[in-house]
């Protein structure tokens, strides 16, 4: 399986750094940014990103706003919400807007990896279906 392309968005730098290292060690292709705006820029530049782990509580653009923007511009990218405090409601709001799932901080790394893999699988299946549809359309046109 191809390495999953993952984007981490969190304002807590030490947390981000460590988790980046740990995820990289688990065969993931991780890039990390510190706020919502940077995340959007990174997504523009790097279209291969499949899964985003997004902190709910961030200064400036918060998690939900960022999520809305992402879903508007890159609807196929899967987002996992990471909530620092137990604002389950916020996380659930996130799910309504289109997040794949949410996790509470601090979370077990293995659980996180599993969630990321699930998200990636979903995303890839989506992509495949879209590809198939396009293929059909193209082949149909050819016939």
């Amino acid at each position: 399986m191809k390495k999953i392309k993952l984007l981490l968005v969190d304002d807590e730098k030490p947390f981000l750094d460590t988790i980046t290292k740990r995820l990289e060690k688990r065969e993931l292709d991780v890039s990390a940014v510190y706020n919502g705006k940077e995340a959007l820029v990174e997504l523009e530049n790097n279209t291969s990103i499949e899964v985003i782990i997004l902190d709910v509580k961030m200064p400036g653009m918060d998690g939900i706003e960022t999520l809305e923007e992402i879903k508007k511009k890159f609807p196929l990218v899967e987002v996992i919400m990471l909530t620092g405090h137990a604002t389950v409601e916020t996380a659930i709001d996130g799910m309504k807007v289109g997040a794949f799932d949410y996790l509470m901080k601090p979370c077990d790394i293995d659980v996180l990896v599993t969630k990321v893999e699930e998200a990636a699988t979903k995303k890839r299946r989506h992509d495949e279906k879209i590809m198939e549809a396009r293929m059909k359309e193209i082949t149909g046109r050819m016939v």
Binding site: P14, F15, T18, K21, R22, K25, G84, K105, P106
Partner: protein
């Protein structure tokens, strides 16, 4: 606290006094004004009426006497004109006419007589033997000779008992005669004596010299009579009304009126006390009513404010307790928010720590470190960090979830869940005090529509109290939930401990606000009172059983009928 209580007492005192003063002013002012005006007016009117009545009575009688006298005078004058002066026929004339007069007027005319200019009564007809009586020296004769007619004062005369004479001068054959008639004094006297008002009212006639002309029932002293007469006042036949005082200080009314035909005065005398007897009766009645009113007002003015102030102080106390409760719940909310903030702040570093530990764990997997002799220790330490980190996470999560719910929004609540949450929160503190919390929760109890955080506040309070009570000895708290068998449609929560129990004296005061047995500064005495308030708000009840040395059992009933109805309604929809 005590100072403020004193202030408050002073305030209540002032308030009560103000209300009293207000009531007094507002009630007394119109009362006195109304009573005063009515009293004065009535008095005046009644007095005027009495005066008018008496004056009129006297006037009427005066007129009566006047007309009586003028009528009698007229009779005699008529007779006098009839008299032809012949001496021979005079005895027959008198006899005939006296008979006529007696048949016409009854016993008014006693006798008739003819007196010649020498004062000798040469002809007489009547019950006495006065023929040839000599009147030449009599006062009435002298006066009568000088006038065409004359009415004498009352005098004893020859017959020795009071009478008076009507004398008319007759000119006949060049010589003067006088036709005289005696008026029956009894008949005349009754005219005056008939005037009787009240007990002391009496009337009499007085001549110009102040001599009594009629008989009175009461003997009157000359001085009294003369004191009543003030001759200068009598003009134009007016009736004069006066209030006088006799020598013994007795006040009396004196009404006088002059007769037209004769120089006599009609006097009516009545004690003021007697004359105004009715008025005084009414005055006394008014006074009694007024005094009763005053007493009633005074009673109201002093009792009502006291009651009002009592009510106010009661409601003040209540609102104070309410305020305290609000403050208390506000405090809880603040603490909750604070806890949430702290929990959040701690959560992040803990997350980082756990991640770092995880990272080290990851690194330890690498080959070159696997040979390290302390590898096992490292692994163990990291696992410990991880475990403790997770514990931190649990605590902060619990704190957060509790803090989040310190509001009174009503929800469908599973009581058991709420209790479990509190049990896990209190468990730590309980363990320090060697207290074990046992739960026996009936999972079949329905949802209840209440505020979950309030219910938790209540249960937490009971736990804290129980733990405080068993601080030294340790013990067990049993929590039980079930559907009540006693109360229909109620969930019952039993919280039972085996602590020292509550003494009987304190037992019925534990729900009173500010009642506490804890040391000063340790307890507000509000906890159970707030709990009681909350449970009452939910429509539930609390009761308590306690035995010293055995333990205490609280039972809380909360109704769930509403919740059921609500659910049924929802299902139908």
């Amino acid at each position: 606290m005590e100072a403020s209580a004193e202030d408050r007492n002073a305030f209540y005192h002032v308030l009560s006094r103000k209300i009293t003063a207000l009531i007094l002013v507002v009630s007394f002012f119109p009362l006195i004004l109304t009573t005063g005006i009515l009293f004065y007016r009535f008095n005046q009117t009644y007095t005027e009426k009495i005066q008018a009545h008496i004056s009129e009575l006297v006037q009427k009688h005066t007129q009566n006497i006047d007309s009586f006298l003028s009528e009698k005078l007229g009779n005699i004058r008529y007779l006098a004109q009839q008299f032809d002066g012949t001496q021979q026929a005079s005895d027959i004339f008198l006899q005939k006419n006296l008979k006529l007069l007696k048949t016409e007027y009854g016993d008014v005319f006693t006798d008739l007589g003819l007196v010649n200019e020498n004062g000798i009564q040469f002809e007489y007809e009547g019950p006495f033997r006065f023929k040839n009586a000599d009147y030449s020296g009599a006062e009435w004769f002298l006066k009568a000779m000088g006038k065409p007619f004359y009415i004498s004062d009352v005098f004893a005369g020859l017959r020795g008992h009071p009478h008076f004479i009507i004398a008319v001068k007759v000119k006949s054959n060049g010589s003067d005669y006088i036709l005289r008639s005696t008026i029956n004094f009894g008949a005349f006297n009754s005219l005056v004596e008939n005037i009787q008002i009240g007990k002391t009212g009496l009337a009499f006639l007085v001549n110009s010299k102040g001599e009594l002309q009629t008989q009175t029932r009461v003997g009157l002293k000359e001085s009294i009579i003369s004191s009543m007469l003030d001759r200068s006042c009598y003009k134009n036949n007016e009736t004069i009304f006066a209030k006088k005082q006799d020598a013994s200080g007795n006040k009396f009314l004196c009404v006088t009126s002059m007769l037209k035909n004769i120089d006599w005065i009609m006097v009516f005398r009545q004690d003021i006390k007697d004359a105004f007897h009715d008025l005084w009766k009414i005055q006394i009645l008014t006074l009694v009513i007024f005094i009763l009113c005053c007493v009633a007002i005074l009673a109201v003015a002093f009792v009502l404010p006291r009651n009002i102030v009592k009510l106010i102080s009661k409601s003040d106390k209540k609102s104070e307790v309410m305020n305290k409760q609000v403050v208390e719940s506000g405090k809880l909310a603040t603490i909750g928010e604070l806890a949430a903030g702290i929990a959040h702040e701690i959560n992040n570093p803990v997350a980082i720590m756990v991640e770092e530990a995880g990272w080290i764990e990851d690194l330890l997997e690498e080959e070159d470190l696997k040979e390290c002799e302390n590898l096992n220790e490292f692994t163990r330490a990291l696992r410990q960090i991880n475990t403790q980190g997770k514990r931190c996470k649990e605590i902060t999560h619990k704190l957060l979830s509790f803090a989040r719910k310190t509001d009174s929004t009503v929800n469908d609540v599973q009581v058991n869940d709420a209790i479990r949450e509190i049990v896990s929160l209190s468990a730590q503190m309980a363990r320090y005090n060697k207290v074990i919390i046992e739960t026996s929760l009936d999972e079949s109890i329905p949802y209840i529509r209440i505020s979950p955080s309030e219910l938790q506040q209540v249960i937490l309070n009971f736990f804290n109290n129980a733990i405080d009570a068993m601080e030294k000895t340790g013990g067990t708290i049993k929590v039980e939930t079930k559907v009540s068998k006693i109360e229909k449609n109620h969930v019952v929560i039993l919280i039972e401990d085996n602590g020292p129990g509550i003494p009987k004296d304190n037992l019925n005061r534990i729900f009173d606000p500010f009642f506490t047995t804890k040391a000063v500064g340790k307890g507000t005495g509000l906890g159970l009172s707030i709990c009681y308030g909350i449970i009452q708000k939910m429509g539930g009840t609390i009761d308590v059983h306690s035995q010293v040395g055995v333990g205490t059992k609280f039972r809380i009933w909360i109704p769930f009928q509403d919740a059921i109805i609500e659910k049924k309604r929802l299902r139908k929809n």
